[in-house]
């Protein structure tokens, strides 16, 4: 069935196919290992030289050697050939190796299908609008190449037109399948270990420099839609992992505990909002301090952190309610407080001395806390994204020598001082602030908004937030990271360039719609959309049935469009052909060269008994075919005569 039809493939579609392969791999370059990109470029160059200059294709044994070398290279790079990244690498190399082995029609199809696979593999890394556009272009070019191979010798523009027309007709089918195909929440089986590497976000440890490195990224952490007006910026503390264990340099989360009796005493009007969280491969879900009502899929730990049971590996949406004024009295069991006082010995003697001095001179814990805040406010700390490196006694060096730091330095030193002074305290990481997009009203919280602050336990009010950064550098909390450290902030977040800012808002809004409707179209959203169209609790059977009928309807329309006018146009001709065929069965076939009137004369001589009908039919045919415009009457008469004609 698929034997090669011609020994040599037509060069133009082959060039188009090479272009499609190049487009499919183009955006992979940013994710592939360098040697892979170089090798792929070399293979591509070879193929292009073959097309342009007629350089010979490599012999089979060389391709075999190259394949073995590729697999070996992947193994050396990744220590395995399984998994996502090695798989994509192999796919890309396979595509270019196969491109050097396209000799027959069969190879062309293999290359085209590999192009489709490589295009799909792009989405492992990015599903942004530009990548989607690039892949649509790739598919169009690959399809154009296939059209070119099936009809060689046509101008490229015609192939492109055919491919474009088919893709446009495939569009409605794609939309129906996308919205109606019963969605299953993946994964179907265990994913390779490296499936989710490379997602940015907060981690469960904090060392000096870990949050400031996040601040360089304008990647989006989550988006928020508030039911009512957004609270003021200095109240936007998005609570993340709580770090209690300290070893002198690194803060770590303790094992999360779920307790039944977690309560928050809320004051003032609650805030309702919906969060669209980007995947970060961790369990925690961010909420405004302090969350009072959680989504069904979340639980609250003893540290007031909402967590989900499984790591968040795809974009999720959830609704939350928080109280801006609160007292968090749970999570203060004796064990918790002991953990919140533990300090490694033999670190930071000067800070310890200062804390001991405060402990001696102030009677109660709130007074100690107030003194510490005052200390931070008055000590002329400098807020910088590039603080000097610190040695063994990092807290001492920061507090008394360098006085330059980022929020993790402030939070870490403050909690150290509190614990040394006997006040239970811990570090809270998360995000502070957010940027409201005036275009669509969503607030965008970026990785650059990552922040760390402190919590102290006061018997009267429970866990109480203290942000030493806000005390030392109030502008950070009032106006955000861009105002506090303008030079280091990501380009797009800097102030000043109004048009750039405007463009960014527009683009963010578009991306958000894309995320909500295209990328975020999961089983839940599907049910939501379908019920909006009147399908109450659709089961997968009804979805499949609807899908079947609607796709069938679309295809029927396409078929009607393609076959339009083919019949109607030829009613006269059809009647005439029927007449000729009737005669042909009697051995009086009409040669192509014989005109209708000559034919009728000849037939009349042979069949004198039907002369009347024959001449009438021929005259009607000539009249309608070559004479004046067709009218319904004479057409009907012609049809009747032909139907009744029996030679």
């Amino acid at each position: 069935m698929a034997e090669p039809r011609s020994p040599t493939l037509p060069p133009l579609p082959l060039a188009v196919l090479v272009a499609a392969a190049t487009l499919a791999v183009a955006s992979h370059v940013q994710w592939l290992a360098v040697w892979v990109s170089v090798a792929a470029a070399a293979l591509l160059a070879w193929r292009i030289l073959t097309l342009v200059r007629g350089v010979a294709l490599p012999p089979r044994w060389m391709l075999l050697l190259l394949t073995i070398a590729t697999v070996a290279g992947v193994f050396v790079s990744y220590r395995t050939v399984l998994g996502r990244d090695p798989g994509v690498t192999l796919l890309v190399m396979l595509l270019f190796l196969k491109l050097l082995e396209t000799r027959a029609a069969r190879d062309v199809f293999v290359v085209a299908f590999l192009v489709y696979f490589v295009a799909l593999a792009n989405f492992f890394y990015s599903q942004s609008i530009p990548i989607a556009g690039l892949m649509l272009l790739t598919v169009t070019v690959a399809t154009t190449a296939l059209v070119g191979f099936s009809a060689p010798g046509r101008p490229l523009a015609d192939d492109l037109k055919t491919a474009g027309r088919m893709l446009i007709q495939a569009g409605p089918v794609m939309l129906l399948l996308f919205f109606l195909f019963p969605r299953v929440q993946g994964p179907l089986w265990g994913l390779p270990q490296d499936a989710y590497t490379g997602v940015a976000g907060l981690s469960d440890t904090m060392t000096p420099g870990s949050i400031s490195s996040l601040s360089l990224s304008d990647a989006i952490a989550f988006r928020v839609k508030f039911e009512d007006a957004a609270p003021p910026r200095n109240q936007l503390y998005w609570r993340g992992p709580v770090l209690t264990d300290f070893d002198g340099r690194t803060w770590r989360v303790s094992l999360p505990q779920l307790r039944r009796a977690m309560s928050v005493d809320a004051f003032g009007a609650p805030i309702d909002y919906e969060v669209t969280l980007e995947p970060h491969n961790r369990n925690w879900m961010f909420a405004l301090e302090m969350p009072t009502r959680l989504p069904a899929s979340a639980r609250l730990t003893s540290e007031y952190l909402p967590i989900s049971f499984t790591p968040i590996r795809s974009r999720i949406r959830y609704e939350m309610r928080s109280a801006p004024q609160f007292q968090a009295r749970s999570g203060g069991e004796p064990g918790d407080l002991v953990a919140a006082l533990r300090l490694p010995a033999a670190f930071n003697p000067r800070a310890r001395a200062l804390a001991a001095e405060w402990r001696a001179s102030f009677p109660d814990q709130p007074a100690i806390v107030r003194r510490a805040i005052e200390f931070f406010r008055s000590s002329r700390f400098e807020y910088t994204l590039e603080p000097p490196l610190l040695g063994r006694d990092s807290v001492d060096e920061f507090l008394f020598d360098t006085k330059q730091g980022f929020c993790e330095h402030f939070a870490s030193s403050f909690v150290f001082l509190m614990r040394a002074a006997g006040v239970p305290a811990r570090v809270v990481t998360g995000y502070q602030g957010g940027d409201a997009n005036p275009v669509d009203g969503y607030m965008v919280v970026r990785q650059a908004d990552a922040h760390a602050w402190s919590e102290v336990w006061l018997p009267a009010s429970g866990w109480t937030r203290v942000d030493p950064t806000a005390a030392a550098v109030p502008i950070r909390v009032e106006l955000g990271i861009t105002a506090a450290a303008p030079a280091g902030a990501p380009l797009l977040m800097r102030g000043g360039m109004q048009w750039l800012r405007r463009a960014r808002y527009e683009w963010d809004a578009l991306t958000n719609q894309w995320n909500q409707w295209v990328l975020g179209y999961n089983p839940d959203r599907q049910l939501e959309v379908l019920s909006r169209f009147g399908m109450k609790q659709p089961s997968w059977e009804t979805m499949t049935l609807t899908l079947f009928w609607s796709v069938g309807g679309v295809l029927l329309l396409v078929a009607l469009w393609l076959l339009r006018g083919a019949r109607r146009q030829d009613a006269v001709q059809r009647a005439w052909l029927r007449f000729c065929n009737k005669l042909a069965r009697k051995g009086l076939a009409r040669p192509r060269t014989e005109g209708p009137l000559d034919y009728s004369a000849r037939v009349s001589r042979r069949l004198p008994e039907s002369e009347g009908a024959v001449r009438a039919i021929a005259n009607l045919y000539v009249e309608q075919r070559y004479g004046r415009a067709v009218d319904a009457d004479s057409l009907a008469r012609l049809k009747t005569l032909v139907r009744e004609f029996a030679p």
Partner: protein
């Protein structure tokens, strides 16, 4: 009840036609109705289907929304290509053209005329008849004639066997095909052998003697063309080689007649050998511009000359039953 029976029969008839389409040659112009065009995926088409399923599984497993989009777009493309392939073949008019006569052992060229009355061009139609293949495009509102060669094994009428017409346009993922058998036949003459012309015997009826003047019997040589020479005697092949027009001239009896007679051939020759020998003589005689007649058991062709006469004689030889 009766209606059901009719329907049942018609379905059975359709199936019969579909499965064992054996209703011989069709006279006139064949119109490819939708029922006559069959369509199935090609092997690459099946692989394409498997690839789409793999891509779907990958998209589900990794929750790739754009993976779904790409997969479904390709699925739509595959389905739409079925319609396009079908459209590329259906509603085509196919008729027989000319089929020139050939000698046994040669290849008869059957002309098949494809007519496209639609507004859309038909691309890459492939016609196959035994080992013969032809490929063509038929632009909108145009005729296109293709030739299919069929090996002529035996003398007599050679009907055109069933022709498969198929197309894989536009993607090569699906193949639409149909069977047509226009009512066409080519006349196959007996294969001439290599014998020379017989020595003409004196004919008792005319009693001509051998003369040495210029006649029309024996080829004597070539001379430059003169304006009053008969075009029949121009030596076209030799002229083509020598750059000047040459005329064959003959010596012998003027306007004598030859008879090629079945009966006078040696008794040992079989039927086909005799026909081959006679065909050879007819060809040679016509080439030399002789006047000749043909006698076969039961029939005879009176003496004559020229191509129509030659063809008439060869036709008698081709259709000889005896």
């Amino acid at each position: 009840m009766k209606f059901d029976r009719v329907l049942q029969y018609s379905q059975a008839y359709n199936f019969y036609q579909w499965a064992f389409r054996r209703h011989g040659p069709e006279p006139g112009v064949v119109f490819l109705t939708q029922r006559r065009v069959y369509i199935l995926p090609t092997r690459p088409g099946l692989i394409f289907g498997v690839a789409i399923i793999l891509m779907l599984i990958g998209s589900i497993n990794y929750n790739l929304s754009l993976g779904y989009v790409l997969t479904f777009l390709l699925a739509g493309l595959g389905v739409v290509s079925i319609l396009h392939t079908f459209r590329n073949l259906v509603h085509l008019y196919i008729g027989g053209g000319r089929a020139a006569s050939v000698f046994a052992g040669d290849t008869a060229q059957f002309q098949i005329v494809l007519e496209n009355r639609d507004r859309l061009t038909r691309h890459s139609l492939e016609l196959a008849c035994g080992p013969a293949r032809a490929r063509c495009d038929v632009p909108s509102q145009r005729h296109q004639t293709v030739e299919l060669g069929v090996k002529a094994e035996r003398r007599g009428w050679l009907p055109l066997p069933r022709v498969t017409i198929d197309t894989r346009f536009p993607l090569g993922l699906t193949r639409a095909w149909s069977y047509v058998q226009p009512d066409m036949r080519a006349l196959v003459y007996p294969r001439p052998d290599t014998a020379p012309l017989p020595v003409p015997e004196a004919d008792s009826e005319t009693g001509d003697a051998v003369s040495t003047g210029v006649g029309t019997d024996d080829f004597a040589g070539l001379r430059p063309y003169q304006s009053n020479d008969s075009p029949r005697h121009v030596a076209w092949k030799a002229s083509a080689r020598s750059e000047m027009l040459l005329t064959k001239f003959f010596s012998g009896r003027a306007s004598s007649e030859m008879w090629f007679d079945w009966q006078r051939l040696p008794q040992a020759m079989g039927v086909e050998a005799r026909l081959s020998r006679l065909a050879r003589w007819v060809l040679l005689a016509e080439e030399r511009g002789l006047r000749f007649g043909l006698r076969l058991p039961g029939t005879s062709v009176p003496p004559g000359e020229g191509l129509p006469h030659r063809d008439r004689c060869l036709r008698e030889l081709a259709l000889y039953h005896g």
